[in-house]
Amino acid sequence: MTGAAPAGGSAAPARAGGSAAPAPGRRGVRTALGVLGAVLLGGLVWEGYKAVGDPDGTLLFGVRVLPRADDAAMPHLTEILGRFGDPERVGGDPIWLVVTNAGLVTLRSVAVGFLAGALVGLLLAVLMQRLRWVRRGLLPYVVLSQTVPLIALAPVIAGWGGRLSIGSYPWQPWMSVATIAAYLAFFPIAVGLLRGLTSPAPIAEELMRSYAAGWWRTLVKLRLPAATPYLYPALRLAGAAAVVGAVVGEISTGTRGGIGRLVIEYSREATTDPAKVYTALLGAVLLGLLVAGVVGLAEILLTPGRRASMR
């Protein structure tokens, strides 16, 4: 940002956003190019290994240290991409349509789980900042919650969900999946935001006290704005966690329709149709990239221009 004569008051933020617009834009283009480059590199590594690797894998003292490179284990990329156009089974929809639909089903669980997790994380962080005894009592459980194996937890959540209903609307299986996604997503937010809420210097807090500002005003005017640099990395972690939670949740609760289920179904056909399972896997990867992209975009849109200009 240059030292142009600044307009005062409410005009200033608008100006800052306007003048800083090229910076986030350029950042977005650079990120997109980076993603594209990473995808190309991944493809090259795949085909490269396939070209030079031993079809039966490489053994070292009887232990396989490199995977098989034959067509059953690692189909050619062209074959995998081509498989998207073919029907799922004889007379069925093409695979790209099936994977896309499954991706959208999972995306709903991811989105709902992410938002619910973010909300729970926010409330927990605020509560833990406000009350020391809550922090002391709750934080160990928050950490502990992430060490419970998801596989063990998923059937329990699905079982509880079966007995619940929201008003007259019965509990849907995808809600169990969303709950599992939220269960993973709330953690980085709660921990990251707690860190951010407690980040202001003591003199900033004294200043608010000298203004006779109560807890709520201190939260809104000082703690939350001070916490935003901690919030964005937490949101990215939460986004990734929500995707993992939803996919694994679908698999371990046996929920139909989503991409997690598709991975399991297609892997059963891995010996006869090896390219098929990779289509579902690619679908899951794209879903993860999509969520990461949305969170990143939200960050760029919500960040005042000055942060971009200061980096």
């Binding site: 005062g8 008051g9 200033a12 800052a16 608010m208 005017k221 001070a226 935003t228 000055r306």
Partner: protein, 283 residues
Amino acid sequence: MTTTEHEPAVEITGVTKVFNPGRPDRVTALTGVDLTVRRGEFVSLIGPSGCGKSTLLRLVADLIPVSEGTVRVAGKPARTARLDREYGIAFQQAGLFEWRTVQRNVELPLELRGTGRRERRVRAREMLELVGLADFAGHYPAQLSGGMQQRVAIARALAVHPPLLLMDEPFGALDEMTRERLQDELLRVCARTGTSTIFVTHSIPEAVYLSDRVVVMSARPGRITAEIDIELAQRNETTRQTAEFFAGITRVRQALRGGPAAQRPDEAGPVGEAEPADPAVSR
């Protein structure tokens, strides 16, 4: 402002402050402090590290509670005065909110008082002009130098037109040139607004230059050992070379060395050595 005309700006009576009472790490920061600051008076607190001068300031600001005694600000208990926003405060660090522009930083105390948007803007403008930073209203704190940030902090402290200004080594982290310029600016502002001021400092020349009265404190336990009235005919560039200025410095220095100024004239250093004041304090 609800200040009654005849009340002193600050009245401290028999104040003692003990940190961590009843614990092994108990510290008596202040004992038996009495101090009255008249309206419009500029009072400096000076003393070695650990003498409790910052603690005393925080007691006046009601940022920490007293253990014994009473603190009254503008005729009210300190807590009521804080809730009524009877004072503005500035610390050694500017403590600006980095996500707000300079303008919005100065507006913050007004915002918390519920002042309307239009008046906030006008008032913040006025304060920034006072400290000579009107051109930087749209900048963010990270784009300013340390001295400029400190001026913003002072503008912020003055924005609500407080009858009392509390300053805790506000120029401590600044270079000598910036420091002297800000001292002049502060005097100008205080004179124009009729603000009473309590100013904590480590620097003898700074205390003498700014103050109507210098309050000398000593440590372990923190207490007031002397109060020295400073009478300078005027305060400007030339004042710093006058004999009365050096005389004031000498008296404060003697008081800091422990002993009533009048009784120990032989300990007065040569007048020319008055400049490097800080080492003398720490000795």
